[in-house]
Amino acid sequence: MSNLPPERPEEPGDDALARMFAAEESEIRDDGFSRRVVEQAHDGIGWRRTAVYGAGMAGFGVALASLIDLAPHLPAMTGWFDGVSLSLREVGQGTIDATSITIAAVIAGVSFTLAAVFAQER
């Protein structure tokens, strides 16, 4: 009977590990992956995304216009918001030019849209 310790399997060395990783990698077939990536690799701004953001901003504009319509009915408020409420009521009463407000809202909307699009592209 032998006094030798039971034989232990040998730990895989660095080369063996690297070989196992390489074998795993070599089993990955392209299967259309490269084609899909290249198909989606476009230059410039994504027009679909722009349309989505644009629609969102158009909704924002409509909501803002509705707010202006509601202005005469807004309750008087105290504090800093009082000034905003007062301004809106003045818009509703025609004291402030509503066209200027609309133009400012459109410019703000377009700026926001462009900023969002470029932020997505970065």
Binding site: E11, M20, F21, A23, F33, V37, A41
Partner: protein
């Protein structure tokens, strides 16, 4: 002009060739990080597309290393706030995984996240410790330590999986 420079100058055909050349290593890295073939492929695809969009920021050097860095960051971004759910398809042993490959997948899954990332980058993707430290935005010493510990754990685990 070599292929990488042509691709980075906006040549889509050259970019396609680069993707075809490096897709396996980037997908392998992403799969190991995500511990899921489907999530890994999504990350790899996203990394290549990000590389295309941001090609003006490429400052030379290895394209593969650069995409691996992007893939690692994409992985971190997708992982934020999302608990990884593995489907049956992604479990070890699915998709015809057998023998050695299954053992490696299981052993990798048992590593800590930092160890797994460091091992996947250095031993799997063949990046140097310095490159991996840049990719992981971690101190070089930590990366070396993660690789060392991860490799030791892998070696121990793979012995255990070997048939008696």
């Amino acid at each position: 002009m070599d292929l990488t420079h042509a691709a980075m100058a906006g040549d889509r055909a050259a970019f396609g060739q680069l993707v075809a050349r490096h897709q396996a290593s980037v997908r392998a890295l992403a799969r190991r990080l995500a511990r899921s073939a489907s999530d890994g492929d999504d990350i790899a695809q996203s990394a290549f597309l990000t590389a295309w969009r941001r090609r003006s920021t490429w400052r030379g050097g290895s394209f593969r290393g650069w995409v691996c860095m992007i893939a690692y960051r994409e992985f971190l971004a997708t992982r934020k706030g999302v608990r990884t759910e593995t489907s049956d398809e992604d479990q070890p042993g699915a998709d015809g995984e057998t023998g050695e490959r299954l053992d490696l997948t299981r052993a990798m899954a048992a590593l800590d996240e930092s160890e797994r990332a460091a091992v996947a980058l250095c031993i799997g993707a063949g990046l140097s410790h310095t490159e991996a430290a840049l990719v992981m935005d971690a101190p070089l010493g930590s990366v070396k330590s993660w690789v060392l510990r991860g490799r030791a754990k892998l070696q121990k685990a793979l012995v255990a999986y070997q048939p008696a």
